[in-house]
Symmetry: C2
Subunit: 366 residues, 2 copies
């Protein structure tokens, strides 16, 4: 890739792309925010665009609502041969381009599935996209050449390009990220509804509540934007979740009311069982690592005093025994003087792991 | 504690109590299931009850629906002076005792917050209750002596006793465990609703979906029982969650429909912001460890090649530098050749941890 590339917008994503392409392309940068541009330039993400130089490809790394206005402005001066954006929603931008009368032949939407809690060019990193999925969402008339230029950028950034029509992309991120966020926020918010009950509950809380509500700690302003931009895709999923829960509440009410007279009706226990089984099946689809799933793994729990260095000790013993620890959880409970370290290992390695850790003097449980 | 104790029911909980009390009390065991009783006896959880010997205290460690019948049977022969049970729901058992005309003076409900995926006496362990909360739920007329006997057992087992009225207990476990289970199952089940969308979504999935759906892998039969036993407490919480989500879906629909004409109405973005902020506040209540919360901690992310031994290496360096790692997460993504190890450290230790790990040659990110 020797032709020029323009990155418009030197925030976290734009600057990270520039850093990842260093030595691979001649990158020029521009941003309406002179301070952000200076940081990106000083970090070596590219050289300053003079506002006239024509490039082979331009990436519009600006907030979604600025993509179309910036494109129309730059197209006036015929700045690039092909174009892409990196917004987290695709359909809305595509529709806005169409209503502005734009031919989508030289335009490809894209969405790198990478981010950070911090924003801005200071937080940018050349390896931000390494191994991450990068959705490519061409429109119906986008040319192969335009898609190829966009794909090449994703590949040089070390990402895994994945072609998805815009509506499928928007639905996928709604399912995988936006719906879990709404659910986690609502479960966490339920702890506030009855302060007395919430306070008692928290004294009994365990790892289930911790995991289920982890993403509820996310930044509300960021998430209002994300949810609003993808509202059309998220709304029906949240609606369906609400209906599923309303039906579950009906079943629980029936169970609480005691056995029914009508033997022809569906048993409320069967309704609960159905939800739980479908939950099992859905969970089995969730990848833990490189396409591996829950069923491939088993947990080896080790009891340890709740003191510094125990985790390192257990993992050191595991490494010495040649055990590949895929993941690890540390389970603490309120007021608990002793912790449990759960090692996730491949099911076939379980007996070796148990034997080796016991031999090394660890308290392997269960 | 020198007086006799009868444990009726030698499943996971009953046998674990017997093992924990070894050397501390003279424990006699009974179970209608002779095979389970044999395992518990052979593991040293106690000696066989002859069906006549009177004891100071009897623990009814049987499934909730058997508590009252077994109590009435044993009371006939005046087997114990005080009584307790260990069922996961309290109000239903208390009400059943009351309708059987039982005076609750010598009876104390209790619930050790401990369990395992495996059931039965083979999975029992003396340290099952170590550091775990153990709810004590006396009725309005339960004597102090009865509560004290129950509390003593919890204490010898190494648990943290916590007195809670039965309805508060049932609401607390509903909030902290049963509601998150239902929500996680429903979010995981949503991946099945549209198989094509689910398949695309899974290729974009990250740690948010993994955490939010983890407990959805739980055993459906076990959870049908748990939810059914506490249906009266769980139903209104699930109903309220469904309403919260229905309101959120309304707000998302309004956002998707575009700006409204009516400036007097509440902004839908404000409704979303409200949910996310309440989610933040709820999450801050969730204890991570011994009363510490999200706000006390910060994450130090370290990039590593996805190879065996990296986790041990990072934690060894942390231990050598005197860093107390409170928790650790390993973040893998589908197709990602490189992992990120996130160390949870006290916020005050962040800069030291970053400096020490960098000095040890690790790639501390962000």
């Amino acid at each position: 890739m020797t032709a020029n590339l323009l990155i418009l917008g030197t925030g976290l994503i734009g600057t990270s792309i520039g850093l990842a392409l260093r030595g691979e392309a001649d990158v020029v940068l521009d941003d309406a925010d002179e301070q952000a541009l200076s940081v990106a330039l000083s970090r070596g993400a590219g050289r300053r665009w003079n506002g006239k130089e024509k490039v082979s490809h331009a990436i519009l790394a600006v907030p979604p609502r600025h993509v179309v206005p910036e494109y129309l402005r730059l197209r006036e001066i015929d700045a690039a041969r092909t174009w892409s954006h990196v917004a987290s929603t695709q359909t809305a931008v595509q529709r806005e381009l169409e209503s502005a009368g734009v031919q989508l032949t030289t335009f490809c939407g894209s969405h790198p599935m990478a981010g950070k809690e911090q924003a801005g060019p200071k937080a940018a990193a050349a390896d931000l996209f390494q191994g991450r999925p990068w959705a490519l969402c061409p429109g119906p008339t986008t040319t192969a050449r335009t898609v190829a230029a966009t794909r090449l950028i994703a590949e040089i950034c070390g990402a895994e390009p994945l072609v998805l029509p815009a509506p499928e992309h928007d639905l996928a991120v709604a399912l995988v990220s936006h719906l879990p966020q709404v659910a986690a926020s609502a479960v966490a918010a339920a702890l506030l509804n009855d302060p007395q009950a919430g306070a008692a509950a928290i004294r009994l809380a365990g790892p289930g509540l911790q995991d289920t509500t982890r993403v509820a700690a996310g930044d509300p302003e960021l998430w209002v934007d994300v949810l609003s931009q993808n509202a059309a895709a998220v709304a029906p999923l949240v609606r369906a979740l609400a209906l599923e829960l309303a039906r579950t509440a009906d079943a629980l009410d029936q169970v609480a009311a005691g056995p029914r007279e009508d033997p022809a009706g569906a048993s409320p226990a069967e309704a609960l069982r159905g939800l739980l089984r479908r939950g099992n099946a859905g969970r089995r689809l969730v990848p833990l690592k490189q396409g591996k799933h829950d069923r491939d793994f088993t947990i080896v729990p080790v009891g340890v005093p709740d003191q510094p260095g125990q985790l390192a000790g257990v993992l050191h013993s595991a490494a010495e025994a040649g055990i590949n620890v895929e993941d690890v959880r540390v389970e603490h409970l309120v007021g608990r003087p002793r912790g449990v370290i759960e090692l996730l290992v491949h099911a076939s390695a379980e007996s070796h792991a148990r034997a080796a850790l016991s031999a090394a003097g660890w308290d392997v449980l269960g």
